[in-house]
């Protein structure tokens, strides 16, 4: 069969998939359908990729490579081999900062997961007036800069904050609240800021959960808590894992919240990089720690991808 334009169309394909998807043989190279680069490996494809690739190379890959290179140099640009790495990896400050980073990220992630899951469950399954407004408010938090939370914490709960002033007047004998400028303050601020990152994906998953599943579980004898445990949370597990991975990554790299809490004894890897690069101008040392930070982030990301794939994969089964 011949089309009006003349190319030969494989008849079997016309019947099943329509003319639009028919295989055309002997078609001229010119014309609207063939003028755009659809052929894999064509130089035109690479031309389209060139601009974004150039951007990534100039503004991401090159600076990253520079950091990597600097970690093997001294202050004057002379190569020192692995000396910087050996020194920093054995340094107590770096080890403590790594431990503090992981500890704060883990606690913040756990807190955000617990609070976020509870909020998402309440918003999805406990109907109350204003649930929509609460959801919008929670989403709004994501658009705030992260340092607003510790700033608000300082105003409210700081040593000279509102709560301490009131407590001081009501009960002068009570010791003042003093958690904002320490690990608990950082963790609470991160929990407050990153909880919406858990709530949002869970709300999306819960809204897709068929109501019949919950009804049937109820008719089979399960109470609300058992339904949450056996039906709702397993359905939300991939979203929970994704949220946990994302929150852990973000809290591990968090800088603004810690800076604004003014917690001098909370030294995480980003804070250490800041101190070494901006305060003491020890760029090689900062470069080594930055590389450690990048390695940690990539490791966590890989772990998150693996977990997510495993949980949302086609063959996983819950215990009997």
């Amino acid at each position: 069969m011949r089309t009006a334009a003349g190319p030969r169309v494989t008849p079997a394909l016309v019947g099943s998939a329509g003319v639009g998807s028919a295989r055309v043989t002997g078609a001229p190279k010119a014309g609207p359908a063939s003028s755009f680069p659809h052929i894999p490996g064509s130089w035109r494809s690479w031309l389209w990729l060139a601009v974004p690739l150039l951007f990534v190379a100039v503004f991401f890959a090159y600076p990253l490579a520079q950091i990597g290179a600097q970690s093997f140099q001294d202050k004057y640009g002379a190569g020192v081999g692995l000396a910087n790495w050996q020194y920093e990896l054995s340094s107590a400050a770096v080890q403590k900062a790594t431990a503090a980073t992981l500890k704060i990220a883990a606690l913040s992630t756990l807190g955000a997961l617990l609070l976020g899951t509870f909020i998402a469950l309440a918003l999805s399954f406990v109907p109350f007036r204003g649930a929509g407004l609460v959801t919008r408010l929670i989403e709004t938090v994501v658009s705030f800069p992260s340092f607003l939370i510790p700033l608000a914490f300082s105003i409210l709960y700081g040593r000279t904050g509102v709560v301490n002033s009131v407590l001081g007047q009501l009960a002068p004998g009570l010791p003042a609240l003093n958690f904002v400028n320490d690990v608990p303050g950082v963790v609470l601020a991160e929990v407050a800021f990153y909880t919406p990152f858990v709530v949002r994906p869970l709300l999306a998953v819960f809204s897709q959960l068929p109501r019949e599943l919950l009804d049937v579980a109820g008719s089979l004898g399960s109470g609300p808590l058992a339904i949450v445990r056996t039906v709702i949370l397993p359905a939300g597990l991939p979203a929970l894992a994704a949220s946990a991975g994302l929150t852990f990554l973000l809290t591990m790299n968090e800088f603004g919240i810690i800076l604004f809490t003014g917690a001098k004894n909370v030294m995480t890897l980003p804070m250490l990089i800041y101190t070494r690069s901006i305060v003491t101008f020890d760029m090689p040392s900062a470069a080594v720690i930055a590389c450690i930070q990048v390695a940690l982030s990539l490791g966590v990301y890989c772990l998150y991808r693996w977990t997510y794939k495993k949980l949302s994969g086609a063959n996983h089964a819950a215990p009997r």
């Binding site: 009804d215 049937v216 579980a217 109820g218 008719s219 089979l220 004898g221 109470g223 359905a235």
Partner: protein, 402 residues
């Protein structure tokens, strides 16, 4: 055996006659007393009273939005009635949670727990009831054997076909040994051949569970006619009519039931005789045509009625074209045989087992559906024909709103 069972079921009290809750062994497994369900200003179910005896299957039949699924949810406890009471075995459970009602529920999309294997799905209700593990394993095995799914115990729901998932859903619902089984359009997600197969299996299952009361929600009349001892026809959130399949099919009390159950053609007519009591033969004038039909209710001369005729009850009169030509002139005819109506064939559909005609009646401005059996002569579109119907196959229904 089946007929004996149906006989005993028919002895169940009629709908709307509540059984005293104090009775030791109440006859009704399910009873709805004037139950209404509203969502804001929208009434989803209005004043439904219905009783289902132990061992009885009642089908709630109606179009979308008729309130049938809402009624089922009210029984299961998924919806709280805005008024009225729900009783199970004579006990008022209106305020009880679904978990406390002990009802088996099978829904349209099966609602198998996707992260659990087949055996875990069936065991779910037993675990919720804290049954000993050994008993759970035995019960799950028995249930899966009952529905022929014992070979699939370790699969996930997504690895099963629709029919297999439906079997698992039934096994899961029956595993808790409920006294009431609610089925909400359980076959509607299946393709035609699988639906027919599952219908047979449900029929067999029904025979194996003589003591369970079943409420079966469907919009498919063939499912209702096959499975139900009684059919409750629902419309606009209300119960339109309830009765045995035979009663509703042969002697529908309303125009909606006649149309919805069996797709009867309804011809407007005026009574010309007195029928003091239901059941006698009445004479009517449909347009200019004299007709005789069963009158299940009292009729007076001049009363407006509808003549309901099922598609398969129409016959083509012998020598139709010539006979119809005689009618076609003025549309009134000149005293031809009673229950003979001339018409022009509008369309012909071949349906495998026979042909379906749409015929525009001459002088009545009505289009009727005619099912011709296989091997019969089939007229062409545009042909003039004369349709006849045996008086006992035509039934009068009140001229109500359709």
């Amino acid at each position: 055996m089946l007929s004996t069972m149906k006989k005993s079921r028919r002895a169940a009290p009629a709908a709307g006659h509540p059984t005293p809750a104090a009775a030791v062994e109440p006859e009704n497994a399910v009873e709805l007393r004037d139950v209404s369900v509203s969502y804001g200003t929208t009434v989803a179910l209005s004043g439904l009273s219905l009783a289902v005896a132990r061992g009885e299957t009642v089908a709630l039949l109606g179009p979308s939005g008729s309130g049938k699924s809402t009624a089922l949810k009210a029984i299961a406890g998924f919806e709280r009635p805005s008024s009225g009471r729900v009783l199970l075995d004579g006990v008022d459970v209106t305020d009880a949670s679904p978990a406390r009602r002990g009802i088996g529920v099978v829904v349209q999309q099966y609602a198998l727990f996707p992260h659990m294997r087949v055996d875990a799905n069936v065991a779910y209700g037993l675990k919720a009831r804290r049954m000993p593990k050994a008993e759970i394993a035995a019960r799950v095995k028995a249930m899966l054997e009952m529905v022929g799914m014992e070979g699939h115990a370790h699969k996930l729901p997504r690895q099963l076909s629709g029919g297999q998932q439906q079997r698992v859903a039934i096994a899961r619902a029956l595993a808790i040994r409920p006294q009431v089984l609610l089925l909400d359009e359980p076959l509607s997600a299946l393709d035609a051949s699988l639906r027919a197969e599952m219908l047979l299996e449900l029929q067999a299952l029904r025979a194996e569970l003589p003591d369970i009361a079943m409420v079966y929600v469907t919009h498919d009349q063939s499912e209702a006619l096959t499975l139900a001892d009684r059919i409750a026809v629902m419309r606009n959130a209300r119960l339109e009519e309830i009765g045995t399949a035979e009663q509703l099919y042969s002697r529908p009390a309303g125009a909606f039931t006649a149309k919805f159950l069996g797709g009867a053609s309804l011809l407007p007519a005026i009574s010309t005789t007195v029928v003091p009591d239901g059941g006698a033969m009445g004479s009517v004038l449909a347009g200019a045509h004299r007709m005789k039909a069963v009158a299940p209710f009292a009729v007076n001369p001049g009363g407006r009625v509808l003549v309901a005729v099922r598609p398969h009850a129409w016959k083509l009169a012998a020598g139709s074209p010539a006979a119809a030509a005689g009618w076609a002139g003025d549309g009134a005819g000149d005293g031809y045989t009673v229950n003979s109506l001339p018409g022009r064939v509008e369309s012909v559909q071949w349906r495998g087992a026979g042909h379906r005609l749409q015929v525009d009646l001459i002088g009545l401005s009505e289009r009727v559906t005619v099912d011709l059996p296989a091997m019969s002569a089939v007229p062409a579109p545009g042909d003039l024909v004369v349709l006849t119907v045996e008086p006992q196959h035509a039934v009068l229904v009140p001229a109500g709103e359709l």
